[in-house]
């Protein structure tokens, strides 16, 4: 039995993850052709690399098909209810910083806080006969956050990409999305609510609490975690 480590299968997130491990004496690499999702691990025995889409890693951790996984805090919190019971945070990795925020058009000069948003939503519903639409792909996080702070008269509309464009297209009045620098928001004439930070996210190494563990397995995992700590 090997310890399975799940890592994002492409892009900057994969490269940064490889860098992070190599600084700790573990070389991760993709093998075979560019299109084949197979990988190798050097520098530690008994660990198998599994390349996955970052958004699938939370689910794989929760079902116990991988022992360790690298993915964003945002995805773990959105996809895993009661995530603390299913995964353990081993190490924030210092890259992939992204904040889940609420953003409204810059022309809404009257809206700066959640309090303003709530009042604007009530007025909007009266005028337009529908609730104020918020485009997002983070349904659960946004709904729980707004319910907790007591904002009403909004509705979530699903947007899996180009979310910043929904306001201009009038398919939503505002958005809840991940941003790192805020540049795309500004380019689309949006601004962040001053108290509208839902979650601060970064790439993180997680351990599955449900993945089965044999004794040989446990030693490998322990050695690996010690090496990563160094």
């Amino acid at each position: 039995m090997t310890v399975k480590l799940g890592v994002p299968s492409k892009g900057r997130l994969m490269e940064k993850t490889f860098d992070w491990f190599s600084k700790r004496g573990i070389t991760l690499s993709r093998t075979g052709s560019d299109r084949e999702y197979a990988g190798a691990v050097d520098g530690v025995d008994g660990v198998e690399l599994v390349l996955l889409s970052a958004s699938e890693i939370p689910r794989e951790l929760a079902t116990g098909r991988i022992n360790l996984g690298v993915t964003g805090t945002d995805l773990v919190h959105e996809k895993l209810p009661r995530w603390e019971q299913q995964v353990e945070e081993i190490a924030p990795m210092g890259f992939g910083h992204a904040d889940l925020i609420l953003a409204v058009p810059q022309c809404w000069y009257d809206v700066d806080t959640l309090d303003d948003l709530d009042a604007a939503a009530a007025a909007f519903r009266k005028v337009h006969n529908h609730r104020l639409r918020i485009a997002t792909k983070y349904h659960r996080l946004v709904r729980e956050y707004l319910s907790d702070v007591g904002v009403a008269d909004y509705q979530l509309v699903d947007s899996q990409g180009a979310t910043e464009g929904t306001v201009k297209n009038e398919t939503a009045e505002m958005i809840a999305d991940i941003t790192s620098t805020g540049e795309t928001l500004r380019a689309n004439h949006l601004k962040i609510l001053s108290d509208g930070m839902i979650l601060k996210s970064q790439a993180t190494l997680w351990r599955s609490r449900v993945a089965t563990c044999e004794d040989t397995h446990k030693t490998v995992l322990k050695n690996l975690l010690e090496q990563l700590d160094a």
Binding site: P81, Q106, W108, Y109, D112, D115, L146, V149, L156, E173
Partner: protein, 365 residues
């Protein structure tokens, strides 16, 4: 659900309860499992998505597995009901669970709902006493409250209509209600951003106008904020009275006495207190031990959003992990909202046979 009693026992218990409600004068009704998601969303807002299972088809769009019976009962009554009318029903409701795996996501409820324009105190007492009768021997604690008193208190504040509307809208969201109250009483200073917005020399930022919320709406909100800034803070005596009111927690007769003292500063609650007083008498006549019945002015504010008058729940004191065994209340405003111009005072309650059976089983051990 751990140790849940077997289903045929639950159904038998439900049938028995429904029969009791029929004997009490209710007409049995069968209600659909699937409800229009639009109606539920309009009523409860987006929060309902966290509590109800959603499905859909191409013709009818989004549908929800009924999270409770109140909405279909009201719809049925509004469409074809006699006046007055009493209904009973039994069946499953479905609640999506995202936090507590020990809570059931599907369970049977039996209900009794009364639509009646005559003596409201009498009908409140009828429903409460009927529920209590079904639960005798289980040694439950009853909690009661009255959202109508809080609503009357808000209505009676000497402040602008806009502020009262905002407070009324958030009576079921205590955190935002608190924030509004702090702002309207000038307990927190306006932010620099807000001060700039209110200043005479404010000019709108030179940015493109995008989205469906138009410039006129944005300007209108600034105008209303400027108007609000002209209104003085809510008077301290009224504020303290409202805060004292929200913390009243006593047995019914003492609670009434305390609130009569509070009414010195908030006389607008007096009619609502008279209704409570009449309810106490009606309960007493029905043999309810009101001298030991708890009353909490804020009861029902976090979980019973459509109730706007009398509210009640029955709890197993030694099993705080269980949801209420029965609960209910008055929802006049809901019939107004769904009735499209017509309305009828309504009060009802539901009882959960699976919890009764679980408690009975425990007692036998």
């Amino acid at each position: 659900m751990p140790n849940s009693p077997n289903r045929s026992l639950i159904m038998a218990k439900a049938a028995l309860l429904r029969q009791n409600f029929e004997i009490a004068g209710a007409h049995p009704v069968d209600l659909p499992l699937l409800q229009s998601a639009d109606t539920l969303l309009d009523l409860y807002g987006e929060d309902i998505r966290g509590r109800a299972y959603i499905t859909s088809d191409a013709l009818r769009g989004e549908q929800m597995l009924r999270p409770d019976f109140t909405l279909p009962v009201v719809q049925k009554h509004m469409a074809q009901g006699a006046d007055p009318a009493r209904y009973t029903y039994a069946g499953e409701v479905f609640r999506r669970q995202e936090h507590d795996p020990d809570r059931a996501n599907e369970y049977v409820q039996v209900g009794y709902e009364v639509f009646d324009r005559t003596d409201p105190a009498e009908v409140d007492a009828e429903v409460f006493a009927l529920m209590q009768l079904q639960l005798r021997g289980l040694n439950l604690r009853a909690a009661t409250g009255d959202i109508g008193i809080l609503l009357a208190a808000v209505d009676g504040l000497s402040t602008t209509e806009a502020r009262k509307t905002a407070l009324r809208r958030h009576i079921w969201r205590p955190r935002r209600f608190r924030a509004l109250l702090d702002r309207f009483s000038s307990r927190i200073a306006p932010s620099p951003t807000r001060l700039k917005l209110l200043a005479d020399d404010f000019c709108a930022p030179d940015v493109p106008q995008i989205g469906k919320r138009r410039a006129s709406e944005i300007d209108a909100r600034r105008a209303s904020l400027c108007a609000d800034a002209q209104a003085g803070p809510i008077a301290e005596n009224e504020l303290f009275a409202l805060e004292a009111l929200m913390t009243v927690r006593e047995t019914m007769p003492y609670a009434l006495e305390q609130m009569r003292n509070i009414a010195v500063d908030l006389p607008a609650i007096l009619p609502a207190l008279e209704r409570l007083s009449a309810r106490i008498s009606a309960l007493r006549i029905r043999g309810i031990d009101v001298d030991n019945l708890d009353f909490e002015a804020s009861y029902g504010r976090t979980s019973m959003e459509y109730y706007d008058g009398f509210v009640f729940g029955f709890y197993a004191a030694h099993r705080p992990d269980l949801p209420p065994i029965a609960l209910g209340g008055r929802y006049d405003a809901l019939t107004r909202q769904l009735g499209q111009g017509t309305e009828i005072p309504a009060v009802g309650g539901v009882i959960r046979p699976y919890l009764i059976l679980a408690l009975e089983e425990e007692m036998q051990k």
